[in-house]
Structure formats: structure tokens, C-alpha cells
Symmetry: C2
Subunit: 227 residues, 2 copies
DNA sequence: CAACTATTCAATTGTTTTATTGAATATTTC
DNA sequence: GAAATATTCAATAAAACAATTGAATAGTTG
């Protein structure tokens, strides 16, 4: 290899590693995951994650330097969002790889399921069948703005905090399946607990919007429009 | 969010970040890319990359802790390889994301093309058409063991160092298309230079085996067996 | 325009990471 | 079994990073 080639390769891999650096901090990964669900301000992110505002801001700047996120200023707020859909897709890949390779991730996932008794999720495939038959109501329990940004077709939106208030409006004859931000979000599990406690037949899927997109794109099922 | 939930999430993201940490060092990324082409010993990797043996060994151990690579001992050598095909796929994703988001990567790619005059690659799609017609000979210029590990169907193997010796055996009536490890490997460019210098019509694709696999899987073209 | 809010900046701390060196281990070959 | 080879280990020094704090900025509301 020529010397020039070596320098070129070093520069190139230096760049790839910039993306890698963004992924090397747990806090930053959590921020990307949250932004993948929809745009959020710095202090929203600070409140959700429990990090200090300054700390969040700093992490967001790191992410911005690698062009994984972008922002708009809206009045007093700075609203960050992921730079591209492909960033969210990439995060799904990272999670899948982590689950495949790291036993510890698998262990943590089953551990939390034991705390939420009988919260075993149903398969996405199974949900599809049930929805075809119209036997099931799909419930998106994320905050409403995330639902508006994109959701699984056919789902209705009841954010988890409002679920108890809206219990009366739910059909009694249908089974309910809840979903939230994805496999590492527990809002859908909490929803199932609430629903089951008042005698409604309920379950959850562990997939979120991005995992669902990946699923339909890989299984060649007609990729319906996202409403 | 409950306190327990916060702890759980922190542990989970800590784990994801372990994979991220592996990707945060340029040298480690280069090692993964090389291993994605086929198993290699520590000192092979040391020689290819120009790093010290101890340094390579240390990086490989980091990769092993995150289960991205595995190894077998063969006599005096320790042969490392990627732990799963999905690791190679993930690297393709990372490269694609980097190229999309980082202008600097795009700049570096065009920069090197100016050094190798008229090395503009042809599209994979174009190659497929040409191969259907039988108008083209596809040449894999990587080391032979990497070819044996997996190659694009229909390709023949002539490692770049042996190309000049084997020039006589090449058909004169066919155009030749060369490929190597992927978009950041310059062996195929060197091959085209050699071929053109003696008047053979030649070009290259920038894709390697993994990029090719991704291509056929996403375009639903019959995914022929890899020979 | 003064008080307030959201965000960023700058400086500091303690921690991790990287590359390097030389020694230690394990396997093979003669 | 001694010499040679491939790899790992351990210790070090330099560099990069993460979280924290308090001050600075910029936009908003009364």
C-alpha cells in the first residue's frame, strides 16, 4: 500500500469513527432513540431522560457535528430531530445486532418481563392476522405528537397518561393490543396492566413504528401508507 | 418513570454503547472491515493495516468482548473472524449512513478518484445487465482465500499481485469489470489501471461482496447461490 | 425595558481510552 | 529440549471524554 493510500484510508476511517463515537455513549443513544420518535426540545429531552439540560445540549451538539440530528429554533426553544429516516433505521439495526450478540441485553429484556407479570409480547405477524380479521384494536400509547409524526396504520392514539380517563370510550367486545416506542420502552406494558386490571383483554407488541416499517419492507407485504 | 425503570434503561443502553464503543475507533472499524472479507490471523491484520501486533491484538480483544468477532487457534496462529454475517451487514449500514450524512466522506471518495484517472465505477445494475448478455468478465482481485470465502456469482479470481503474470490468460474480446473489498478498497482501481495500460477495455464496480448481497436482497432479484 | 426562560458556552474535574514498550506465554520446528 | 515464532499481558504516558458548575446569550412576556 502506498503512503498516500494509507493517509487516505486513515482519514476515511476517522470519519466513520465519528459516527461510531456518537454511538459510544449510552446517553447519546437514548437521545437518538427518543428523537427517532419525533422532534423534541432540549428541556423535553432533559426531563424525559433525567439528564441535566447542559449535558443534553452538549450531547446533542456532538450528534449534530456528525449530522445525525438537526434542529430548528422555534421561539425560545430549540427543537431537535433526527437528520434522516435512515438514522432511525440504523438504530434499529444497532438494537438488533446488540440483542443478537450480547447475552446481557437478552437477560435484561427477560428480567423486566418478570416484573411486569404476563407481559410477554405477541408477534407482529400475529397482530397482522388479528387486524385483518378486525378482531383487535391497535392502541398507540405514546404522546400524541409522536403518533402524529407517524404510526402503524389502523392504530388509534391514547397517550398512556390519559388512558385511565378514556377507558369508557374503549370497545368491550374487541381485544386491545398496545404498542409504544419500541422494544425498550415500557409504556405499552403499563397500558396492558391498566387494561387488564379492569377486565379488558389486552396484550402488547414490542415493536415500535420503526421496527414495524422494517418488518413490512422485509416481508414484502403491501406497504400501506402511513397515516 | 420509576427508579427501577431508570436503572434498567441505563443498564440496557450501557450494553448498546458497548457495541458503539467498538465502532468509535478508526482502527477497529478497519479491522472489522477486513475480517468481514474473511478470517485472518493477528499478524496478517497487523501487516495489512500497519499497526503493531500488540495494538491489533488489543483491539481484537475489545471487539471480542462485544462479541463482534470470534477466534480459533490454529497451531501457532490465532485466526479471528466476524462472529456473524449480520456484523458485516451492519458495517455496510454504517458506511452507507456515513456517506449519506458526512460530506467529508463524499469529498474523500471523489478526491481519490482524481488520483486514479477515469476510475469512475460503473453501477451494479449496469454490471448485471452486461453479465446477462455475457459481454463481460467479472474479476475478483482480492486474495484467493477471500474469494473462496464468498464472491459474486460468475466472478473469477485473480489476486491483484498476480494480475500482471496472468494477463495472457484473459480473453481479449470481452470487457473486464474488476471488484475488490468494497468502496474503500483501491485494489480494483489498480487492476483497471494495469488492464487499461495494456489496451484491455476495463472498468470497476465499487461494491464488494457484502454490498452486492445487500443489493440483491433489496431488489428481489433471484438471489443466486454464492459459489 | 425588566424579569424570565431556554439554551449554549467555558472551565474544571475525574475517568476512559489509545498507542507503545518490553516481558511473558504457548506452540512449533529443528 | 532449545530456538524461533505468534500472540497476549502488564505497565505507562499522553490524549480524549463525560458530567458538573456557573456564567453568558438570545428570545419572550409582562
Amino acid at each position: 500500500m502506498t503512503n498516500l493510500e494509507r493517509i487516505w484510508k486513515d482519514q476515511l476511517y476517522q470519519e466513520f469513527a465519528r459516527i461510531g463515537k456518537c454511538l459510544s455513549s449510552p446517553k447519546r443513544l437514548e437521545l437518538i432513540d427518543l428523537l427517532a420518535q419525533g422532534p423534541k426540545s432540549v428541556d423535553q429531552l432533559s426531563k424525559i431522560t433525567g439528564m441535566s439540560v447542559a449535558n443534553v445540549s452538549q450531547h446533542l451538539q456532538t450528534l449534530h457535528e456528525s449530522r445525525l440530528v438537526r434542529f430548528n429554533k422555534k421561539g425560545n426553544y430549540v427543537i431537535y430531530e433526527i437528520a434522516e429516516r435512515s438514522v432511525a433505521d440504523f438504530m434499529v439495526s444497532l438494537h438488533r445486532l446488540s440483542e443478537k450478540q450480547l447475552v446481557e441485553v437478552q437477560r435484561l429484556k427477560t428480567e423486566i418481563l418478570q416484573h411486569h407479570a404476563s407481559m410477554e409480547p405477541i408477534a407482529l405477524e400475529e397482530l397482522m392476522v388479528l387486524m385483518e380479521k378486525g378482531e383487535v384494536l391497535l392502541l398507540d400509547v405514546r404522546p400524541e405528537d409522536e403518533y402524529i409524526m407517524g404510526h402503524i396504520p389502523g392504530a388509534i392514539s391514547i397517550p398512556i397518561e390519559q388512558l385511565e380517563k378514556h377507558l369508557a370510550t374503549l370497545p368491550v367486545n374487541k381485544e386491545i393490543v398496545a404498542y409504544c416506542r419500541g422494544p425498550y420502552c415500557l409504556m405499552s406494558a403499563r397500558a396492558v396492566e391498566i387494561l387488564k386490571s379492569i377486565g379488558i383483554k389486552a396484550s402488547r407488541i414490542e415493536e415500535g413504528v420503526h421496527e414495524w416499517k422494517r418488518y413490512v419492507e422485509h416481508s414484502n407485504i403491501s406497504p400501506k401508507e402511513i397515516l
